[in-house]
Symmetry: C2
Subunit: 405 residues, 2 copies
Amino acid sequence: MLLGELVDTNSAWLSRRLAALGISIYRHTTVGDNRERITAVLREAAARADLVLTTGGLGPTSDDLTMECLARAAGRELVEYPEAREHIERAFARIGYTSPPRSNYKQALFPEGSALIRNPLGTALGAMVELDGTLVATFPGVPAEMQIMFDEEVEPVIRARSAGGVILSRTLWFVGIGESALAERVQDLLDMSDPTVAPLAGQGRVRLRITARAGTEEEAKEKIRPVEHEILSRLRKYYFGADDDTLESVVGRMLQERGATLALAESCTGGLLAKRLTDVPGSSAYFREGFVTYSNESKERLLGVPHELLVQHGAVSEPVARAMAGGAREVAGTDYGLSVTGVAGPEGGTEEKPVGLVWIGLAHGEGVITERLDLSAWARSRSAIRERSANRAFDLLRRYLSEHN
Amino acid sequence: MLLGELVDTNSAWLSRRLAALGISIYRHTTVGDNRERITAVLREAAARADLVLTTGGLGPTSDDLTMECLARAAGRELVEYPEAREHIERAFARIGYTSPPRSNYKQALFPEGSALIRNPLGTALGAMVELDGTLVATFPGVPAEMQIMFDEEVEPVIRARSAGGVILSRTLWFVGIGESALAERVQDLLDMSDPTVAPLAGQGRVRLRITARAGTEEEAKEKIRPVEHEILSRLRKYYFGADDDTLESVVGRMLQERGATLALAESCTGGLLAKRLTDVPGSSAYFREGFVTYSNESKERLLGVPHELLVQHGAVSEPVARAMAGGAREVAGTDYGLSVTGVAGPEGGTEEKPVGLVWIGLAHGEGVITERLDLSAWARSRSAIRERSANRAFDLLRRYLSEHN
């Protein structure tokens, strides 16, 4: 991780869970596979906090040092736990080994006095150990294993030790307004201290996070509610959802409520809209089919885009976006057809049609609406152009559905 | 970030750049928007290291505290820099404001004696300041802004100050073998200290990273080369690429070399294969079109899957995977057709066809080959099933192309 080959998602996941338990998180620290530095970090963290969680370094290889360093930091011996040995042997037996690779027995060693954390998904068990009155809990780095171990074994222990209270957050999502412009409208709220309101921007969307600390979840909600109302009274026009909502889940819910169906016609986004739409479980209720027409010939043959349009205006043009959306709707027999065609780069831009020029189209019962996007500010990033194009296309459909209820 | 609402990708990006400059990275630390804790972390880091980079906290709002805390840690005054004030005014003028929002003038304040870091993409300039002989450089949290500022302004400064030497990594990618089984085969290499070899697993792929430290890039390469050859001599069968290669980029390169074309037919992956294939710039050279047939009726109408097959075997079945691959190839007129149909969950599983059952198919000139995947171990994660299905489908095509050169 210190070489940058891997992005740490575990810290974010654990932090969300801890916040929900009312635990204030003061630091995330990442340290390399080095005995002295791991041991020092464990001691420092234990001196600073009441609870320390670690992920990674529980594997069978020689650079997996967490247990050894934890034993050293706590001044304890590493000892073999028979139940851990059995767990490892069973795990390998299940996949057809008569005995585990020798190195895996290392995973049966824990600081003396540890309470083990069961791992239903892998060979690496975790441990809970006291270090100068601080609870240290170790987890493997594999997210799925860490998550189930935290939920099933460690959360109850933390809950029992903690003073109570909760930190609750509510996130409001906006689109079609920049971060500065949005912050201006709610500057007085951003200066409050309880609840706090903080803005965060990314890929054409802006969120405001309201965070309250209180004795109970209900009290925290009571503190958040009026602030949320105040924000929405000022920014309703740009608001599209809360918390885990995404543009695709919101659009999906709107379609489902109306019993309406959607087809997609994608060129430069190359399947990204379809992928995001089907990230949402249950999307088969409204998503019928998607066409990734990456060649001009596909646009003609599959969507019925007239050859003359492509010749005269080029694939990235208003008439082609219009014909793609209409074609998808017609071929699929759906209520709506949504299209994207653009220059995602890094190559393929011209003076007339630079990287970042994108046309989106929405075919509905009464016609087709189109929008021109200028994403040339993100010309260095193919993925930014594609994600922003998808966001704007979903938002075009969202706005249409809101206005035509 | 401490509330877990955001995953930190900047640390990984900066770490890769620093490693390439031969800088050893000892720690990543994340700390909250709190004056005392930010100031303490800056002091600690400066005491420990020769170089400290920070991201985030340079915005116009009241919880943006980096400059204030840096001034405090360095014992300097915050002063207004006229060139920063002009930069902000120009940026807002470009988007049609006569003057910036008042709060943005905060972004013109820096610790006295700072060297400013220009930001061509946003209003937040960075600063380089000396703190007890340590160079501290601050960046905004927006990745695109941070990256261009590092590359254009800070890297040259670090290069000039550093002792020289490089840390070079080479990553080898494998598929079709588990992490433990792979580690067993190269255990002796994993125990080496220079170069080091470390395994890492994820979504059905395993990578081995070889890392060497040397005076020059050429020397580091000399150290890596024999280790790479040794690894490949043992694991050639599972090897698919190196460094930034992905299954989709490797498959794309193979298709392009052969002048061959591909069409996709996706059900449970819902556009993910198309999205990943078109993440690769230049993919239009071999990717013709993709069908996201999320309904049975779409599979019949677009791909010509016989109605009887769907009734008799269900959409998730060998015959349907076969018909989808063949249909895509035929309709698109491509050399190859690749299909995926499965139960991605969380709903929709039955005893006979549980969540995680996936069929993949590859249609080529002489027929169709299919494979059954059992991904039920990941039944809790729709995204894991979809990503692993995509990996296995791309690998099916990769193996076929390797064997039929």
